[in-house]
């Protein structure tokens, strides 16, 4: 994976907001992609970081979360790796079914899958790669269309 940005975060949920803002602020996207960046990518990355810290690293402050970002012509990629034992993403139930709707948990992964174009876990389940495709044909500074 190309890496334009690499961040190593402590397992502290208070760092998530600032980290996500930092990444979004450095994305050389055109204005047409702004809403998808601000909603879809923001939500997806925030949820991935939150899951990594709360569940992957089990809130252990001695563990870290690695964030790798690639700004490509056709997409933005974000890879989030925690230091936990991993999990089976297929085991997370659908939170929108009637029996799960009133449960307080389980919406993070669901939102990632709904809002991002690709959500891929490694075999162990402690690393997720998120992809947001750019429909506008490319990223140019200043909102200039390719």
């Amino acid at each position: 994976m190309n890496r334009d940005l690499v961040l190593e975060l402590p397992t502290d949920v208070r760092t998530i907001e600032h980290a996500v803002e930092y990444v979004i602020g450095r994305c050389p996207c055109c204005a047409e992609e702004a809403r998808r960046l601000d909603l879809n990518f923001r939500v997806g990355l925030t949820e991935a970081l939150s899951n990594a810290m709360l569940y992957g690293n089990s809130r252990d402050p001695s563990k870290r979360v690695l964030v790798e970002i690639a700004f490509l012509d056709e997409c933005i990629q974000a890879r989030v790796t925690d230091q936990g034992d991993g999990f089976d993403p297929a085991s997370v139930p659908d939170p929108t079914t009637p029996e799960n709707l009133t449960k307080p948990c389980g919406r993070g992964l669901f939102l990632m899958r709904k809002l991002l174009d690709e959500v891929k876990y490694n075999a162990q389940g402690n690393q997720v790669t998120l992809v947001l495709k750019l429909d506008s044909g490319g990223m140019l500074e200043g909102g200039v269309q390719a």
Binding site: E17, E47, T96, P104, C105, R107, G108
Partner: protein, 110 residues
């Protein structure tokens, strides 16, 4: 980020300032539960100044709604912007909550 709690007759109005996320959702939960414990039964949580709610924030709203209903009360939400509405619709939580465009409309008919 913070929460402003106001009393509007019998209705407890909580205005969320900033994001409702994993880092502050417990504070919101405690504020509401404290008032539920002292007898308040009608709640409006207003998001006019909120740009983002994460899944933890959504979860705490679900949890609060359930606890308030169990006590014979009701929780309404108000002033969700377009992005927040999208999140509620995707997760089908728009079917769980009574959502008003403004806090004034939420307070009406309580």
């Amino acid at each position: 980020m913070g929460f402003r709690v106001l009393q509007n007759g019998e209705v407890t109005l909580v205005e969320v300032e900033g994001q409702l996320i994993v880092g502050n959702r417990q504070e919101l939960k405690q504020q509401v539960l404290d008032r539920l414990e002292r007898g308040d039964r009608k709640f409006v949580i207003d998001f006019a100044n909120t740009g983002y709610i994460d899944s933890s924030g959504l979860g705490v709203l679900v949890s609060l709604s359930k606890k308030i209903r169990e006590q014979g009360g009701e929780l309404r939400l108000s002033s969700l912007n377009e992005d927040l509405r999208t999140l509620f619709e995707l997760t089908k939580l728009d079917t769980l909550f009574r959502i008003a465009d403004t806090k004034e409309k939420a307070l009406e008919g309580f």
